[in-house]
């Protein structure tokens, strides 16, 4: 049986105690008597021990790698912990410093609105931290609070400040500046920029409906040009038109002005207009005869978002994004029109801001354009 094994297998079995007692006896006898067999077995033993050494070396390397990582993991964790702590400390430090400087910036920002009228108020007297009592910015004297200003308090001319330190002291001045006013309430530290009013004026509304009643209107007379177009009376023209520009401060019309679109005889277009106006007059006069006022306040505004359009509330027309002052208002059949240079727009009541809409009816458009 033992002869069926190769030397290597026989050595394996002998080393592994897998031989029977008889086989083992035979094997050991051969070892003792067969020198070559004995040398071969010793060579085998050297190799197997070398293989074990190789395995031990690999296992030791594995232990060095993984065992070292595990034993040093505590130190690694400590390093990570300290790194996190250091990072948090740095972050905290940066946060504190940034908060310190941001507070300084806040005070500097508020100093912009420091009043120049009241010399007793200085930059140092305005603070933020102590003004939270009423959620309003309060000057050190406790009297002046910076709050939103009613629109009615807006006065005519914008105020220009020489420098940032020369700021308005009152809410009126703030609004007069037309730029910023501050609230320290829910929108703390957020400057609120409002619409800026550029100028306003009382403007005559010229009604083009109905017959000309010269007897009721002595100041405003309708003059017919040779071309048949209507004109404002000289008195009004002298006061209100100068180089085709309104003098918005002096124009005031107290009486109802009714200008008739008196069509020229030779002009078929004018006949058409007259017919059209005549058709609509009755309806307009009966439906809402007083819906169009005779006097409007025309205001020029500037929007912080560059809104272009208008607002029409009551007898006030607010124009946004329009610098041109060659403007007239017309009432044609109880519809208000705005003419800017050679462009005619339809104005309808609008309190939230509407875009200027071109008049598309060529009859009305041409007729308005013929007006002075």
């Amino acid at each position: 049986m033992i002869n069926n094994y190769s030397d290597i297998e026989l050595f394996d079995r002998y080393s592994g105690n897998l031989l029977t007692v008889e086989e083992r006896a035979i094997f050991e006898e051969r070892l003792a008597n067969d020198k070559a067999f004995n040398e071969e077995f010793e060579f085998y033993q050297s190799i197997t021990l070398g293989i074990k050494d190789y395995g031990n070396a690999e296992l030791k390397d594995y232990l060095k790698e993984h065992g070292h990582a595990l034993t040093s993991s505590k130190n690694k964790n400590k390093t990570i912990t300290w790194s996190i702590a250091a990072a948090m400390a740095i972050f905290l430090g940066v946060y504190v410093v940034s908060q310190f400087y941001s507070n300084q910036k806040a005070e500097q920002s508020i100093s912009v609105i420091q009043p120049e009228a009241d010399e007793s108020l200085t930059t140092d007297t305005i603070t933020t931290g102590q003004n939270n009592e009423n959620n309003k910015g309060v000057f050190a004297d406790g009297n002046s609070q910076l709050s939103e200003v009613p629109k009615e308090e807006i006065i005519e001319e914008p105020v220009e400040f020489k420098n940032a330190e020369a700021a308005p002291s009152t809410t009126e001045d703030l609004q007069r500046a037309g730029k910023y006013y501050w609230s320290f309430g829910d929108d703390a530290d957020i400057p609120v920029k409002t619409d800026k009013k550029l100028s306003d004026s009382v403007v005559l509304i010229v009604a083009l409906t109905g017959p000309l009643d010269s007897e009721k209107d002595e100041e405003i007379a309708l003059a017919k040009t040779s071309q048949g177009a209507t004109q404002l009376p000289k008195s009004l023209n002298n006061n209100t038109y100068s180089n085709n520009t309104y003098d918005y401060k002096t124009t005031t019309v107290k009486k109802k002005s009714i200008l008739k679109a008196d069509a020229p005889k030779a002009d078929d277009v004018e006949k058409t207009i007259e017919n059209k106006l005549a058709d609509t007059t009755a309806l307009a006069n009966t439906a809402k005869p007083e819906s169009i006022a005779t006097q409007y306040t025309l205001e020029f505004w500037e929007s912080p978002v560059n809104f272009k359009g208008y607002k029409l509330t009551g007898t006030t027309v607010q124009l946004y994004g329009t610098a041109n002052k060659n403007i007239r208002l017309f009432n044609v059949n109880q519809q208000l029109y705005l003419r800017i240079d050679k462009v005619v727009y339809v104005l309808k009541p609008c309190s939230t801001g509407c875009a200027l809409t071109l008049e598309t009816d060529p009859t009305i458009k041409n007729y308005i354009l013929q007006q002075p």
Binding site: I8, I47, L49, G50, D53, Y54, H68, T71
Partner: protein, 189 residues
């Protein structure tokens, strides 16, 4: 290996028998603090402790792998005893014998060095010349003590006979490598 997955002594022995290297890593980790304290109190340093414990763990590995290992005490006690024995021998070699003769190292001898380390180093060098498959099958059989059925399963051989033939082929190849490089008489002499 997290603490949650830590094996107890019996599980560790089974894992070692199955050739799970993570088991020996746990053994090393579990005993490092104790062994380092002992080594450092007795003239050694941290590197000595690591090296001694590594050798002790390998000794446990080999002992368990023989199949006749019987755990009569806690495994940590066994590791500590082997580590002491290893350290004493090293101290003896370095002439730094200390008064630790009272250490009971009965039945905890380290490696029987019948053959010179030089000869074994020759085999180690030649092992690197082998291909991965041959190296694996020789290590599994001679170092880890797996039978041919297990080797065939682990190395995806068709059956134990195939694995056996492969092992035989590899061993012969290693012998040839050594013979071609060294004199067999030098190796066994």
């Amino acid at each position: 290996m997290s603490d949650r997955n830590k094996l107890n002594d019996e599980q560790l022995i089974i894992a070692i028998r199955l050739g799970e290297k993570d088991a020996i890593v746990q053994l090393y980790r579990d005993n490092f603090t104790t062994i380092r304290g002992y080594i450092m109190k007795n003239g050694g340093n941290n590197d000595d402790a690591e090296d001694v414990l590594q050798d002790a763990c390998i000794a446990v590995w080999e002992k368990v792998k023989t199949g006749d290992f019987e755990l009569k005490a806690r495994l940590s006690t066994f590791v500590f005893a082997i580590s002491k024995n290893i350290w004493l021998k090293r101290l003896n070699k370095m002439g730094r014998q200390t008064s630790m003769n009272d250490i009971n190292t009965e039945n905890m001898s380290v490696k029987d060095e019948t053959f010179s380390s030089e000869n074994r180093q020759i085999v180690v060098k030649m092992m690197d010349k082998l291909g991965a498959n041959c190296k694996d099958i020789l290590l599994m059989f001679y170092f880890e003590g797996f039978d041919m059925i297990s080797i065939a399963e682990k190395l995806n051989y068709n059956n134990a006979d195939t694995a056996k033939a492969k092992k035989h082929q590899c061993f012969k190849h290693l012998q040839e490598l050594i013979r071609n490089r060294y004199n067999q008489q030098d190796l066994i002499g």
